[in-house]
């Protein structure tokens, strides 16, 4: 892949993160059972799994979660590739291979989570 295609992907996934991230935050904002205190709203995890299930149940929202996962993974791995290479001071093939593998793992594991939660309905 040419560098310009990778960077184009980087820009597009950056915008994707903004779009899908906003949908994600908005969904959570409207779905979570808000409690009286910030503590209860944000840190009482016991009620949250039941609150987020409707998000996964909805196919469109589940798809947007997948979009967020895809964009975040591609953007993060490509960003890490640049950061690590610039820090090390030279391009290393094994770093790129490792990041590619980590990206694939995150995508597969995240997709599996979304699918399992979606079929829990």
């Amino acid at each position: 892949m040419r560098e310009r295609d990778l960077m184009l992907l980087h820009y597009i996934t950056g915008i994707g993160i903004l779009v899908f991230g906003s949908i994600h935050v908005a969904t959570i904002f409207f779905t979570y059972p808000f409690q009286d205190t910030i503590w209860e709203t944000t840190l009482r995890f016991d009620s949250i799994p039941y609150a987020v299930l409707p998000v996964y149940r909805n196919a469109l929202l589940a798809a947007s979660l997948f979009g967020l996962l895809l964009c975040t993974t591609v953007h993060a791995m490509n960003g890490l590739r640049s950061i690590i290479t610039e820090l090390v001071g030279a391009r290393k093939r094994w770093v790129e291979a490792l990041l590619f593998a980590v990206g694939v793992f995150l995508l597969v594991y995240g997709t599996r989570t979304i699918l399992i939660a979606h079929s829990l309905v």
Binding site: E3, R4, L8, S82, T85, G89, A90
Partner: protein
């Protein structure tokens, strides 16, 4: 009126190895005196072993680039009294191998220029070598690259670039700016090849737009802008 200003100059002797050291010299300074005048004063009157590179003394040749109080500048273009300091630190440029004291080896800059083919590329080689007519340009065509022709290749922008510091393979601001200068020239026919050369990991994409290159340029050239324009061209293919 003469004032005494302390010059704290970086000294480095390759034969001694090691990291180099700072040596202080007291220099009598008059209005109008430049950093280069101060360094020449030291060389002629206090310490003849000090090495400094210069030629034109009027910000044209680009050979006297140094860092004064941590900022890249031309020694012949910086007035001592305008700095309003009692102690002035003078160091060599960064991102280049050191030759001696304030003299740096500019090879990386010129090697990268060459790698980016920073000259006019024409398909008709014979005509290029022995032109049979004039190749006129309109004012608009000239405007597209004019500011980039003002570069005197002092290399200050390359020294100020934080990306070159951490990732020396990055082509750096000046070579990329020069590549754009020819890319934007209506007489040039190497557009595709140029885009292919700068569209590499070490190319335009590594610029983080710190802007320090444009900030230090003594000729008002904006290499950061040239890099963004090259990026746009690379994205368009």
């Amino acid at each position: 009126m003469v004032e005494k200003v302390k010059f704290k100059v970086f000294r480095y002797r390759p034969e001694d190895g090691g990291k180099g050291f700072y040596k202080e010299y007291e220099v009598p300074v008059k209005k109008g005196m430049t950093i280069l005048d101060g360094l020449i004063y030291i060389k002629e009157n206090i310490d003849p072993t000090l090495s400094v590179r210069y030629s034109c003394r009027m910000a044209i040749c680009g050979s006297c680039g140094v860092r004064v109080n941590s900022l890249e500048t031309l020694a012949c273009h910086t007035q001592v009294l305008e700095l309003k300091r009692r102690v002035i630190r003078v160091e060599p440029m960064r991102n280049y191998p050191l030759v001696k004291d304030l003299v740096t080896d500019m090879t990386p800059l010129f090697r990268k220029q060459k790698a980016l083919m920073t000259w006019l590329i024409r398909q008709d080689n014979v005509e290029q070598e022995n032109p049979t007519k004039q190749y006129l340009q309109s004012e608009e065509e000239l405007e597209r690259y004019l500011q980039f022709t003002y570069c005197i290749q002092c290399g200050l922008c390359y020294s100020a670039c934080p990306v070159v510091s951490t990732f020396p393979d990055f082509y750096g601001p000046q070579p990329l700016m020069k590549a754009y200068r020819y890319y934007a020239d209506s007489r040039d026919e190497g557009g595709e090849e140029r885009v292919r050369l700068v569209d590499r990991f070490e190319g335009v994409w590594r610029c983080h737009f710190a802007g320090s290159c444009s900030a230090v340029c003594p000729k008002g050239v904006d290499p950061a802008l040239a890099i963004q324009l090259l990026r746009r061209s690379a994205l368009k293919g």
